[in-house]
Structures are given as C-alpha cells and as structure tokens.
Subunit: 268 residues, 2 copies
Amino acid sequence: MQRAIGVIDSGVGGLTVAYELMRQLPKEKLIYIGDTKRCPYGPRSEQEVRAFTWEMVSFLLEKNIKLLVIACNTATAFTLKELQDKLDIPVLGVIQPGARAAIKWTKNNQVGVIGTEGTIRSNAYKDALESINPAITVDSLACPMFVPMVEQGIMFGEKAESVVKEALKPLKNNKIMDTLILGCTHYPLIKNTIQKEMGANITIISSSEETARETSALLSMHHLLANGNKKPTHEFYTTGELKIFSKISETIFKKSNFKRVRIEKAMI
Amino acid sequence: MQRAIGVIDSGVGGLTVAYELMRQLPKEKLIYIGDTKRCPYGPRSEQEVRAFTWEMVSFLLEKNIKLLVIACNTATAFTLKELQDKLDIPVLGVIQPGARAAIKWTKNNQVGVIGTEGTIRSNAYKDALESINPAITVDSLACPMFVPMVEQGIMFGEKAESVVKEALKPLKNNKIMDTLILGCTHYPLIKNTIQKEMGANITIISSSEETARETSALLSMHHLLANGNKKPTHEFYTTGELKIFSKISETIFKKSNFKRVRIEKAMI
C-alpha cells in the first residue's frame, strides 16, 4: 500500500498547493483535508488554530501519511515548530519555501510580501527572510480583498484587474523591489493578474509552487519517493459543504487530475 | 564555535556553488575543498572517484562540518547515496536540486540538459527527472568545450558566443523544449551567454543556485541554521596550485566576499 503525502488547510486555499504537488510529483498519492467548516483561521486565537490543526493532523496520521504539508499560512505560523518536534514524519509549512525562493531570486535584497491581514501582522515572512539574510529589506502589504474575490471565482478580467490595481498601489510606489512573494495560498490563482499589474521586471514567487518543490526534495532526502508508475487516486476531505468544496476543486484542478480525486466529508 | 557547511569538488567548478551559498546564506561559514591536483574526475573510474571523494569528506569531517554539499556532478553520481547512508550529517548533491527546479519550471515537460561528457553519459539528470515524473522528455547534450573555455577565463564576448552557438546547435533544433538545466557547476559562469543564444523563452536552471537554495531548506529542517549576525570567515582548500586556485576564486567571488575567504593548500 502506497503511503500518501498529507495536506492540511483551513479550507480551499491549500488546493493550489495540492495542484502543484500533483503536477510536480505525479506519482505521489495525496490525502487532503480542508477545514472549510471553521475557515478562515486568520481571525482565530492561536489556541483555537492549534486545536483545529491537531484534529486534522490526527485524522491524517490514522491514514498512515509519510509526510505532512501545512498548506495554510496561519497554521504554519502557529504550529510548524511544534509539529516538526512532535511527529516522527517530515513536516513542511508554506512560509519558508517562499522565503527561500525569494532569497534565491532577489538581486538587490528588496523583497515584497502580500498576504492576508493575519499573515502580514504575524511578520512570519519578514522573520523567515531576515533570519536567513539580515540584509534583506521587506515591504509587506495586506490584501484583504483578494481571498473573498477569488472565492467568488473572480480571477481575471476587468473586475479582478481593478481590485488588484487598487490593492497593490502602495507596493507600486516601491521602485526598487525586484521580487514579490504571494504569501497566501489563494493568490497563485490570480498570479497572472498580479504579474500584469506589477510589470514583467518583478519576479513573482508562488508559495504553492515552492512548497511542492521542497516537498519533492524532502521526500527524496528521506528516501520516501513513490516507486512504480501507477497513477494514484487522491483522497480529499472537507469538514464543510461537500458541493461547494467540489466545485472549487474542479475549478482549480485540470480535468485530467480532477478525475483522479475522490472527495468526501470528514467528521472531525 | 560555529559549525560550517562543508563543500567538496573535483576542482574549481564548485566555487559557483560556494558563491551562491555565500549569497543566499550570508551567515553560514563554508569550508571548501577542491581536488584540483587530480581534476577532472569525469574520465576517472568509479573506484578512483569514490576513493578521492572519501579523502575529501574525511578532511572535512575532522573540521566538524554540520552538512555536506557534493558540488561535483561526477562525485554526486557515484557517491551521493553512499554518503547519505554512512554519514550522520545531511548530504546534498548538485544533480537533484537542478532536476527538481526544472520539474517546477517546465510547462510542457520538455527539458534539456547540458553537461560534461561524463555527466551526460551517466544519465544522472535523465534518471533523476524521469524517476519523479515519467512524462518528462529529456534532451541531453554534452558540451565538452565549455569547461576548458571557462577555465581560460573566456565567459562572454565574441569568442564565447561563437563557441556557445556552435555547441548548442543540436538543442536549438528542439523547438518545444522550454527549460534547460546547466548540468555542470562551471556553466553558471556563462549563463548569460547561453541565455542569449537560447532566447528569452527558455528558462535556464543553474544547478549551483538551486543547490544553495536546497541547502538552506535542509539546514532549516534540521534546525542547523547559524545564529547571530556575525559575518563568517570562510576556509578554502586546494590540493593543487595555490596561485591558480586563488586567481579563479577571486574572479568568481565578488570583492566583498573574497575578503572573507582564506585559501590554503590541503595535504590529503
């Protein structure tokens, strides 16, 4: 029996991480759980986020996962270290891979970060960047309109462009920034619109892509990569409405991948 | 006493990996050894490469390194698995990080790899790419002229452009390839010339940049990142001519970094 990569998220944002895991690691089986019933985690207390996260982790550990991806910025900020210390499987969050990619890309150490209010207020990206390279200057901006917009299915076109343009104005004033981290797992869905607004000279880092790439490295280093060439069937669970979760999943995954996804309701 | 990252190479190519480690991890101390006396490893037997590699590894283990980077493609191909199994510190090679980055970047699974004759013959990149994603098509090309050219200090200008143009002709016929891996640690020094020849639509992957970035991930996951803000002084060793090694190091490192490099001859 092939052991799976476990993915947890407060809801549907982590589906962009799941999409990248399927694309970059097509032989790996995923088991995903999204806590849509109690989403968003951003405004919740640390105690609540830690309790909900542990419930999802226990659910996945029973399914014998071989590696855990915390595909939620808030949960990463509050529980990464604890989970790394307590679990005997490798654990990866979404914050550090994006930070490391930005450090690789920036030529002048001027990095921007956009995310939810909670993520920006936590300074998690700023801390991750500066702890590795103290010479980096971080320009952070909360974009509270982006998640609700994406969840309504507005990702490109006139309306999306105007929301993105308005939100990014403060960053456009920064004339030396050369790299921008999408510090929220919803944002890769509007990456093209953001790139168009920021201009081709800014390197945009998707934390979802980078997290999938580091998952690949981690699996390899722990000799946990899947063998054989059988295409896996993925298990996705939601704590909330099955219909809405399925619809959003179908939008995010390409058709061929969605065929190999089984979605169920999780009772946790 | 701060523990260092150990870097081994058959000679000077690995200096591009060292340069990237200094740039992406400015707080980390490096101890590098280049076996310039017995370079290149490409034409040597597996037995010889393994014996030489172990000599360098023993030299670094005595200096209490916390992580080992094998910054040489040939040594990676022959010894990575053995070193990962036998050492109780994390070990990273130069092949897998480049392969994982290419998998992240390619949009159509058409990937090119250039390297020395030995590396291309070993199929190490092809194997690494296909073992993760069997749908990837790999177009490999040996460029035996590049290393001698770079070692003569010819990296841009008319002469470099004409050598690069001639060598890359077979790859230019591949009209669907969208990503090209520089599968030799010398090649990042002529990245701009290669990019110019291949055109802006091809994503060029530097295995040196990617190896440094994954070193950062590995240090973090093992809780081995350096603390404090003191700038380290790096130790570089060569088994060959001190003068030549120093001159090449000075060319590769920027002035400010070179000031913090101490170069000595190693007796192994």
